[in-house]
């Protein structure tokens, strides 16, 4: 067992779906004690989201939830019950960090707002994440990441110029905000250790997402240009795109930025005559005749598997990469080398892939210790061991539906 970076860090995770849980997962994967709090009346949305194992629509059968909840303890706690709130407060007294993704104002209404938490634990660090932040005229508008992507503007930059806008797959902003949250949260821990002061962090997934629009925004500000939808073309490379290969819906990307790469491509294609073809000699020529060029390249790629194209071109120093699908993610040799997925034995799902962090730390690596919890899997253990509840007290609260 490696040494745990966050051995001494205790986190209460009231959040759900992707952003909050993924932030907490970074801490739990590096050894923090993280309690993921849910309730059967308000389970984590991902537990009611497909895909389910064997198609069984049960809270513990969803295969989506485990992706963001490895190495965490699961607790069921009914926050509609006054005694549930009391227990939440006892947990806050034990913790360093509280994460929530309720609509702004809900935690306060429950008596668990930042000011309330500070009374219990003066140096508490609270991270609240919502679509559009804790304040502002649109703060209360409901929504999901899949739609927030539009507000951030990504579909206006995704698609072909002569087609409808499409959107980046899924809840794209959910893939951006968590890592900003993690960096800030660890900063907050260090700040607390140095000064004794806790803090409240307000992570707007909108504002975090917009960071990835920065160059387009500056282009608008400085040049009055809307970047728009450009398919796969690049202003400074050709050929540049995804080319159809042998097989069903198989593609390989190729990106040629300079003459050396162009010559490499021609040699691998076995068409060295193209190097001196006046239509394609310079980048300027290649951009001018890009449509024709793309066709020539695809005529070649169609005869080979995408992985063959990638290997041949990379061997010649030409940037190329398979367009991997959701099956390839398990088979890609490089992702395997990185141990992209930890296989852990989940009590309902069986051996199940849990993503590992993409950053490898040489001395204190993240480790698979526990699969994602079933809803409330550790409720009794948390109450008795952490909160030192007696059997009687636990049973009584259980009967009062406090752990529902």
């Amino acid at each position: 067992m490696a040494q745990k970076v966050f051995e001494d860090v205790k986190v209460i995770d009231f959040s759900w779906v992707v952003v909050g849980p993924l932030i907490a997962k970074c801490l739990s994967d590096f050894g923090a004690t993280v309690l993921h709090i849910e309730s059967t009346t308000r389970p984590d949305t991902l537990r009611t989201t497909l895909p389910y194992k064997d198609g069984v629509q049960d809270l513990d059968f969803s295969g989506y939830f485990p992706l963001y909840n490895s190495n965490k303890y699961g607790m069921a706690l009914n926050l509609q019950h006054p005694k549930g709130i009391e227990i939440a407060k006892r947990l806050v007294a034990w913790s360093d960090i509280v994460i929530d993704s309720f609509r702004p104002g809900v935690m306060k209404r429950l008596g668990l707002g930042y000011e309330d938490l500070r009374l219990i634990k003066p140096d508490i660090i609270m991270l609240s994440t919502t679509m559009q932040g804790q304040t502002g005229p649109h703060a209360l508008q409901p929504g999901f990441g899949n739609q927030l992507v539009g507000l951030c503007g990504f579909p206006s930059l995704t698609g072909w110029p002569d087609r409808e806008a499409v959107q980046p797959y899924g809840a794209y902003t959910d893939c951006i905000a968590p890592y900003y949250g993690i960096a800030a949260l660890i900063g907050a821990l260090l700040h607390r250790d140095a000064t004794g002061r806790g803090q409240h962090l307000d992570l707007s997934q909108y504002e975090a997402g917009v960071q990835f629009m920065s160059t387009a925004l500056l282009d608008w500000v400085a040049n009055g240009r809307e970047a728009g939808r450009k398919g796969n073309s690049s202003p400074c490379a050709a050929p540049h795109g995804a080319y159809r290969c042998r097989g069903e819906d198989r593609w390989c990307t190729i990106a040629i930025f300079n003459d050396a790469e162009w010559q490499g491509l021609c040699k691998v294609m076995g068409k060295e005559n193209l190097i001196y073809d006046s239509r394609f000699v310079t980048l300027f020529d290649r951009k001018k005749n890009e449509a024709e060029l793309n066709q020539l390249v695809e005529e070649w790629t169609l005869s080979f598997g995408a992985d063959e194209i990638m290997a041949k071109l990379q061997a010649a120093g030409v940037p190329a990469g398979v367009v991997v699908n959701n099956s390839d993610l398990f088979e890609d040799p490089q992702l395997k080398e990185r141990e992209c997925f930890w296989m852990m034995d989940h009590s309902v799902l069986g051996p199940f892939p849990h993503p590992s962090p993409p950053f490898k730390l040489s001395k204190t690596p993240a480790e698979p210790r526990m699969p994602a919890p079933r809803l409330g899997e550790h409720t009794e253990c948390i109450c008795k061991k952490l909160l030192k509840m007696s059997n009687e007290e636990f049973t009584q609260l259980l009967n009062e539906d406090v752990f529902k």
């Binding site: 502002g136 960096a183 990835f212 990307t253 990379q314 367009v323 490898k360």
Partner: protein, 411 residues
């Protein structure tokens, strides 16, 4: 939050964002460029479309909150200076090909011998080890190999990237998270370490739940343009909808969660005579998106799509906010900059560029902290902007030494 801690940032565009995030958190980030300025300054777009190294907007965006020096770390004199800087530093961030730092005698082992608390963050396309470690990459290659592109784009056309580069932002950002994990350990134990970030792996997060569809049911998830799959593997639900002057995003959601929202949308449509009987009479609570047929889904979406086409983005957005409906406009850059929510939160920060004699509005802090402002404090440096400040004033070198190193091409 990181005030007083120093970062030496050797990256090109593959790693800019890592140092930017540490700088936003208050660290003293020094961008170390090769003499004459880094090649990554050639990344467009450019200020006023003037393609000069001091005017790269890509450079501006992700090198703000950094100071800048020029230094040739491959030369012997350059190495000596670098090692002096190393003594007072906590992080080195680099994005060279694997093995390059070792060949310079600046690999993690050597660096840690000189400064045991140093954290070396290496950002590469594929990682420090493995069969692809020396492979060439670019934005599109990484968005493809990380699993993003297969899922994005129209059914009948090739898989798509986003039209502005995103891959290196995922790499740099997640490297910053990894650097912070290592830094927490360093503050606790005094021990530094090597952080190895694979950009390809960083991008796999964008495949979201799709690996599970393969794992549990050997189902390949294909791209479906403006629709969304994943509610059920083969159910296509519209997510991006054309409206009168552009697009909006929204989705039909079933069950207890979606029912009140759907009802409010139907009431709104009905008030304008645009809801049909199917929409008005549906038992929305019983609508189960896990088992809905494609036919019913399409039949429900049809009149909704007509309603959107009769309205502008602004009308739909404002109506949705008032009615608590999850619908958003697909905003252009211009609209983003006028968005009332961002304005109310004082998001845009005007950043002074004295070199351009201009102030430019930038996206504001990535998070709001009650203790610290993570917004931009200084614009990105021009080549060698802080040579005198750092070499002379902070390291105590004298002007003669600087002149000599300048003429030798070291700084």
């Amino acid at each position: 939050m990181l005030k007083g801690y120093r970062v030496l940032d050797l990256t090109d565009e593959k790693g800019f964002l890592c140092g930017r995030v540490l700088g936003d958190l208050g660290a003293d980030v020094i961008k170390v460029e090769r003499p004459g300025g880094d090649l990554s300054r050639n990344n467009g777009p450019f200020y006023h479309d003037e393609a000069e190294p001091e005017k790269s907007l890509y450079w501006f965006a992700f090198n703000a909150n950094k100071r800048g020096i020029t230094l040739d770390i491959a030369s012997e004199d350059g190495k000596t200076i670098f090692k002096k800087l190393l003594k007072d530093s906590d992080f080195i961030i680099e994005s060279f090909p694997p093995g390059y730092m070792e060949r310079l005698g600046l690999g993690y082992e050597e660096l840690s011998r000189m400064n045991p608390k140093i954290i070396l963050v290496s950002i590469t396309p594929f990682g420090q080890t493995g069969p692809y470690k020396d492979y060439k990459a670019s934005d599109i290659v990484l968005m493809a190999t990380g699993g993003f592109m297969f899922l994005t784009g129209d059914k009948d056309l090739p898989p798509l990237r986003i039209s502005i580069p995103q891959a290196y932002l995922f790499g740099g950002l997640q490297a910053a998270a990894g650097a912070m994990v290592a830094f927490y350990w360093q503050k606790k134990t005094g021990e530094g370490q090597h952080v190895d970030l694979s950009t390809q792996q960083a991008i796999t997060v964008t495949a979201l739940n799709t690996p599970v569809f393969w794992f549990l049911s050997q189902t390949i998830i294909h791209r479906v343009g403006p629709f969304r799959v994943g509610g059920r593997a083969h159910l296509e639900q519209r997510n991006t909808w054309p409206c009168k002057d552009g697009y909006v995003t929204t989705i039909l959601t079933g069950g207890e969660l979606g029912a009140p929202v759907n009802r409010r949308l139907v009431e709104w449509m009905d008030s304008e005579g645009m809801a049909n009987d199917l929409l008005k009479n549906l038992g929305w609570e019983k609508l189960d998106m896990a088992n809905i047929t494609q036919e019913l889904n399409t039949a429900l979406e049809e009149p909704i799509g007509q309603f959107f086409k009769a309205h502008t983005k602004k009308e739909l957005h404002e109506g949705a906010i008032g009615r608590q409906i999850w619908l958003f406009p697909v905003q252009s850059c211009e609209e983003l900059m006028e968005c009332p929510q961002l304005l109310a939160r004082d998001f845009w920060g005007n950043v002074k560029h004295s070199g351009l004699q201009a102030s430019i509005p930038y996206p504001g802090p990535f998070i709001k902290s009650s203790e610290f402002n993570c917004g931009i404090r200084r614009c990105a440096p021009f080549p060698g902007e802080h040579n005198i400040e750092i070499y002379e004033k902070e390291m105590g070198m004298n002007r003669e030494e600087l002149l000599m190193l300048k003429q030798a091409g070291v700084i």
